[in-house]
Assembly symmetry: C2
Homo-oligomer: 742 residues x 2
């Protein structure tokens, strides 16, 4: 790697003491003032009415992949971008997209019951009656299947639930499991059931987690009524997202495809989501042990685990036709660095009408793009190219984004400065997850966006919430009161940032408002305009707030003289993850040893109610001491480099003109965190710091190679992954050093 | 106080290294061996069959105060004691005991509904159909009343629930409240409702806490079915227990009585307990704000708070006739110290059939007494007098025990060495609460009783449970594994020890097994023999275990050469309470200051969802620094004295013969912890260390004078109570010093 020369005349605003004493990383005077003025003009262009009408129009019909409604939304978005002067095009990919042909769920004993498998149209919800265009309730990518067996209730269907079943002597082999939605991404439930030998899987929404226990049900209130069903993908996305037939490459017309049987992300057992109306008779019919307290939901009977009495028959058949995906890609060329791309995206496909998910985010993004186009009309031009992306096929498995990223991987690794994602949006608090080198930068953005409800900054409001939560939970401490920069969450999966960040190492954000918009409409026919305007963001002002937040993020990165990466924040974050891991291994070692001693002394036998017939947990292999020194040394080296780089950048006079070589080095730095072989058993995931959990799905695992090996008690692999991550961090430090050292 | 001389020739077993290396506090060789032999003989006399038949016989009919069944049980117990050679008598007191004449609960709007107010007889429960003798479902000591008003759901009806209602702007003034059973003793709920201006109070059993959420309902399982109702007293026992008309004196025939209107322990608003079958339509009819998560139960709808839509009419009238209480008192005179009494008690009255509460404990006590009588027949005699007491009227308010204690107060303060209480008993783990000077002693008892399920000692089993609980909750730590003496809980209220301990300062224990006998039969018609033998202690072996435990406790104290008081354990406990209090005040000061700062900064306004319409909490007066020095100095003095006393006693050669003056000084020591004026606003409670909480009812408050003043933020009173408790502790230390210093 060649060493990069830092030159020019940049003076950072922060070191100049800007007149309003507000820093703006990456800008120098007088550009700081100009940037704030630009953003103020930008804000003035944004209207809630446009976001309202955008949601209404785009959610007017069901618009899942391959549907006429999907095409209508694509045409609408495309025509909007075109009308605003963007260089817009529709990029098409070709993917299988299974839709139901036959769905049958019945109880055959001890009593008979046939599940309705239908959500009810409501007069209070104008689009809920569009039954002819709606996708039935199903889990996308379930295989065809026709199974009959005893039913077993498996709580949330996550690995620890099966540990408990084992202690009860209950096997799900040859049986059909019923799991509650929650605690994991849905696809984990059938995957784990399948690993344990189950032949079918039902997933239902318990009213405790998603229904009347939480609040009044739709249409009186926002929460899930007894007929509501959460559709959703069960593609094994922790292996790889996107088209299951074209891992790693774009699903273009002529792409080389796997046979469906070869796709490792497809389940082998049929799975179906059901409502609590349909689940109730099945659960009521179970006998066997009473479910332990944290397994119980809010249905009005005693939850039992089974198996035995209750037998069910599940028959599913799907149409596996190929469908077209339509990504709308709209570019605004950069005036100085057209080959540096600030990419902003939100998907457009919904499971049904999708007013909240994804249209609320899509409509806010369009309003943002419209305002940007007005800035252009007023004479401004971005230094870097801005690329708006409206993705198709996010719902079945990040299809549109993944195929596009895979297709354009080489170009993106050169040009992509950042990927800024949003998805469904609602009333409440700003949520930010992303690349930690941009944590200080996004703090500045949140400082400058005003919350529509309280008229304080959205950053201050995050702080207020933290204080109130601490006060409500009796955890209020003095050090909480002093406002500090907020930390941002790490990205797992669940929306279109995954291919950018985790496959290509492109710095990414996921932005959105929420927390004051709870409800049960997710992936149901009730995620409608009528629901949205009553319960999610009635004034549409949080759509405006999202446009302001993502818009500032986009504009500042597009125009920064020096890109606002601060690798000290990233170092600090990784170092924290490593410290956590070391503590966790020590705790696991102690817990394992102590538990084994309890087992040896028969303390479980003595201390457990014999009436529970609960066997002690299995004895586990003792935890060895792992050698973390290579990781610690790599982190020690990294710390020095990031501090030196920060000093150098602060003192530099970089003008941001010419080749922009330093900025290119900065935005490509995160790619150095990719490992050559990716994560064990899932090479598509190459980021060494962030990945969705193999057994959590959406939930992030940081330093995933090491962490998951430890969690799986695979000590050999854990040691290997420590060495791999240490090498990656060393490579990363060397790379950053080549920027710092002239 | 005169100084006592320690003399004689006692050699403590512990310092001798007894052949089985088991210490036995207070005994010297060869008495240690003899005592163990005696206990072994005693154990051999105990049979589960007798406990079984005792429960069957005494629970055959409803036997509440004043009923024919009560008299039959009294006759049975009396005749048993007589037949075993005890000096038995029935002592009678005269008390009002209200029973229902009229009970009406109806909803008058928005729909109409009339509550059934009846538990259903079941064919699976032989005694449940004895409707003519059963007391209807009611709360004893509710006043007559006829009220109509809007209904408000107040969660558990404890003070913090009203704080939350205030934040919602909801007042219960002029309204009828409905509260869940749980989180406080039931009498607190109407008391707090009344303080807030409510005109009536309903208490119901939510299936989340007491019903199908927990497990299968009766008769399939043990848990409360939809018709089950918890009867119970709502006498304001935290003021004083016992007959409301004769506080402080025995309710003998000619006692001077208050007028009912003068009794401070009687409520002013009508209160009625109902089933979840009857509560469901009322709660369903509520509107207003949705109840917050921890208020919600397991009924299948969204819990609202009201008020507004739902109106209820509650009409109650009672028969306030005077009834007779019959305490059976059976004495076995001490051979050496007949004027030193080891008192062992359990009540005999039930709300209905009361197989579990109290007959399971009563039957075990009778079996214990029978075995003791067989020891006597074999030639053994206790050194001290053993007094068995079967109390009447515990359920309405510890009536029988309190009146007896008040009547015999002077004699008891001279003669009572210890009071050993039990009550309902079941399968599981030993529970011990009591006077901490006897904590080391009761550890030895628990060490020597074998658990019938696991064949390890009941002390070891307590330790196993602690380990398993810690393991299940992820709190397993190395230091837990080393077995240490267990600590015992402090006594609040809820059974007949209160007058002994808290009014007279007599060292007390409450003993019982449980934790593997959950169910919903408490105070209902289903607390029957059929229920008991299926779900509570099917083998009746835990009845035997209770007889062994309480029997050993009784026998050892009756025969000890040197009474096994160890005031180091008491000092350590009190010192811990004081340290906790000081920490709590500091934390309260910090929390108050921080919360006030949040309020000043409007952080609640910024950080709370505006849709909740939740006002910030009220600003609270800042917490001053209290002067704990007098208490700390008193504790410092006490520490020296208890260590010196322990040394002196260990070295002494006390024979336990003659006047027994040292032992008398030891057993009367706890009386020095009584304060002259008792607790503020409730002078009946005189113990400075232990009291039931004014706002918890059964739940203990340690150092109650100080603690409750702090909790009520009454700083002046807190400082006064610190000085009072310091003076009490100084007096106590001086007293102990007079034993230690010859």
């Amino acid at each position: 790697m060649r060493k990069l020369v830092i030159a020019g005349s940049l003076l950072l605003a922060s070191s100049l003491g800007w007149s309003q004493s507000k820093s703006l990383s990456g800008f120098k005077e007088p550009d700081v003032r100009k940037e704030f003025d630009l953003e103020s003009t930008f804000d003035g262009y944004l209207t809630a009415a446009n976001i309202d009408s955008g949601i209404r129009i785009m959610s007017a019909r069901p618009h899942h992949v391959g549907s006429p409604g999907d095409k209508a939304v694509v045409d609408y978005i495309y025509s909007k971008f075109k009308s605003w002067g963007y260089d817009a095009r529709v990029e098409t990919f070709y993917v299988p997209f299974p839709t139901p042909k036959e769905r049958l769920l019945e109880m055959t004993g001890p009593t008979t019951f046939k599940a309705t498998l239908a959500e009810k149209p409501l007069k209070e919800d104008a689009t809920s009656g569009q039954t002819s265009e709606q996708l039935p309730t199903y889990n996308c990518w379930s295989p065809d299947g026709d199974v009959t067996g005893e039913l077993v209730f498996v709580n949330y269907g996550i690995p620890e639930d099966y540990d408990y079943l084992e202690r009860l002597g209950i096997s799900v082999k040859g049986k059909i499991v019923i799991a509650k939605y929650g605690r994991s991404w849905r696809g984990i439930k059938p995957k784990v059931a399948q690993e344990h030998g189950a032949i079918g899987c039902l997933i239902y929404s318990d009213p405790k987690d998603d229904g009347y226990f939480e609040g009044d049900v739709y249409p009186k209130g926002a929460f899930k009524n007894e007929y509501g069903v959460q559709r959703g993908s069960v593609l094994d996305m922790p292996i790889y997202p996107g088209d299951p037939l074209t891992p790693g490459i774009g699903a273009t017309k002529d792409a080389k495809r796997l046979d469906r049987s070869e796709a490792t992300t497809l389940l082998k057992i049929p799975v179906l989501p059901i409502s609590y109306h349909d689940a109730e008779p099945l659960l009521r019919a179970l006998d066997g042990p009473v479910a332990p307290p944290d397994w119980r939901g809010a249905l009005p009977f005693t939850y039992h685990i089974g198996p035995g009495k209750a037998h069910v028959h599940l028959k599913l058949a799907f149409n596996w036709d190929m469908k077209e995906l339509h990504d709308v890609i709209a570019k605004l060329p950069g005036s100085e660095f057209p080959d540096e791309w600030v990419i902003r995206g939100n998907h457009h496909d919904g499971w049904v009408n999708g007013a909240g998910d994804p249209i609320s985010g899509q409509s806010a993004m369009l309003e943002e793009a419209r305002a940007v186009s007005l800035l252009v009309k007023s004479g401004w031009k971005p230094k870097r190219t801005i690329v708006y992306c409206a993705w198709d096929g996010e719902e079945p498995g990040l299809l549109g984004s993944t195929e596009w990223v895979e297709e354009h991987a080489a170009e993106l690794q050169k040009k992509a400065v950042v990927y800024i994602n949003s998805d469904g949006n609602g009333r409440g608090f700003l949520g930010v997850e992303g690349s930690h080198a941009l944590e200080p930068f996004i703090n500045e953005v949140a400082r400058d966006v005003i919350d529509p409800e309280t008229q304080i900054s959205v950053a201050d409001r995050m702080h207020s919430r933290e204080l109130v939560n601490a006060a409500n939970n009796g955890r209020l401490k003095k050090d909480l009161l002093a406002k500090k920069p907020f930390t941002i969450g790490a990205l797992g999966s669940g929306s279109d940032y995954s291919p950018f960040l985790q496959h290509l190492g492109i710095p990414s954000f996921n932005l959105g408002f929420g927390g004051e918009d709870p409800g049960g409409e997710y992936h149901s026919i009730y995620d409608s305009y009528d629901d949205y305007r009553r319960f999610k963001d009635p004034s549409f002002q949080y759509g405006v707030a999202l446009a302001k937040t993502a818009g500032r993020t986009t504009l500042r990165i597009a125009d920064a003289a020096l890109l606002p990466f601060d690798f000290r924040a990233l170092y600090k974050t990784i170092n924290g993850y490593a410290a956590d891991l070391m503590t966790e291994v020590d705790q696991l070692r102690e817990t394992t040893a102590l538990t084994n001693q309890l087992l040896k002394e028969n303390q479980y036998g003595y201390g457990t109610d014999t009436a529970l017939h609960l066997m002690p947990p299995a004895t586990k292999e003792e935890v060895p001491y792992l050698n973390f020194s290579s990781l610690q040394n790599a982190l020690g080296g990294l710390e020095k480099v990031v501090n030196r780089l920060a000093d150098t950048l602060a003192k530099s006079k970089w003008s941001g003109s010419g080749e922009d070589a330093v900025n290119q080095a900065l935005y490509r730095a995160e790619q150095q965190l990719l490992s050559d072989n990716g994560l064990p058993r899932r090479p598509w995931y190459r980021h060494s710091i962030y990945a969705p959990g193999f057994y959590t799905g959406y939930g992030v695992k940081t330093l995933p190679g090491i962490r998951e090996a430890i969690e799986q008690r695979n000590w050999k692999e854990a040691q290997e992954q420590i060495e791999i991550d240490a090498a990656v961090l060393k490579k990363f430090a060397d790379y950053l050093g080549s920027i710092a050292l002239q």
